[in-house]
Symmetry: C2
Subunit: 208 residues, 2 copies
Amino acid sequence: MSHTVGIRQVQKQKTRQALLDAALALLEEQSLSSLGLREVTRAVGVAPTAFYRHFRSTADLGVALVEEALGSLHRMVRSTVTAADSSDERIHRAVELIARHVDAYPAHVRFIARERHGGVQSVREAIRGQLGRFAEEVRDELAQDPEARGWSEDDLLMLSHLYVDQMLATSSLFLEALDGPESERERITRLATRQMRLISIGRRHWLD
Amino acid sequence: MSHTVGIRQVQKQKTRQALLDAALALLEEQSLSSLGLREVTRAVGVAPTAFYRHFRSTADLGVALVEEALGSLHRMVRSTVTAADSSDERIHRAVELIARHVDAYPAHVRFIARERHGGVQSVREAIRGQLGRFAEEVRDELAQDPEARGWSEDDLLMLSHLYVDQMLATSSLFLEALDGPESERERITRLATRQMRLISIGRRHWLD
DNA sequence: AATTACAGAGAACAGTTGTTAACTGGATGA
DNA sequence: TCATCCAGTTAACAACTGTTCTCTGTAATT
């Protein structure tokens, strides 16, 4: 059993990552279902056939991109939700956290938003699975909050999905405003903050 | 000025509609950005060049599809929101209205969900514009409700967007469960009903 | 009845696509 | 040192793409 890296494996991983990066960049202006294998290899500078050493198809590459993109979202989601409990101050910080995440990983956010309902089934399923896991994590997080006293597991999961969906919707809004004026970004921040606040209010009075 | 229909114009409209229908069907398994002009004409049974008599490109056809798809959604949105004011009974009926709409126009719902964040800019913009108009309509509807007393126009629009997004998210869930078991559809109904209820609770206590 | 307008057909174009097969050369392991 | 492995290359394939130009037949207009 050799866990030695090896020049060879390193090179392969490097090429693989280059393919993923190139694909992600190309997906800024199209959907995965129209992404061609030759298009990706051309962008990287390798022969078309080299693609098969790493992925079975572009759909397969898409599934790999889901892991990568949601890996970066992963950390953000936890921070967001644990911050989104109640106080206006914390909600506002959560929204700004989302904004900063979109600034840092716009291509990842775009990919998830685009392919969540996109034309490639395996990718849709991968995203759905990952988001489902997110929602479960969020539920466990929420369960530890004193405000969750008396809530059923099912209701907590219902709320988690609401939070996750709201976070993605907000991310998408920030994404569209990436190259826009700062005023637009502020408008979105105010909008998202109030929506989050309304949900929090509903949460607080759920058991009334 | 002749507003006579004319055999010729009728035929043209018929072909145009056939192109739209064929495209919508083909888009069940792919995104608009990968939809080919030849693919559509082949499905209809006309020459590829006939396409240009009706649309400049497939993106152009996509914009036309937005009008058609959101026309059917139009009626549903109004019914849903006017019913989603408060009582559990009315909320439940609103969710079932969504479910029935998805049953009736699955291809339309799929198209909007898929292309809202899809790879074709002009189509994204068309959808965004239409949904924005929806939200404004909903706001006007909400404004007439006694519960909206003391609400600012801006807050009403914030709530409208929350309703519209929630409606689309629910539609998408029902769509994925179209060929699934009835139990799954019931699960979604319960989930969406509770989410809508939580939002309504937040709405009721917004001015506290 | 003669002329015009125009939806659709047909053929051809250069360029693209995914996939197969056989090959090369340098890292790997015995 | 030598045989093996394997990431990436090269060449070729049939099939497909969007777009142009020319043509046809018939409805609409005069």
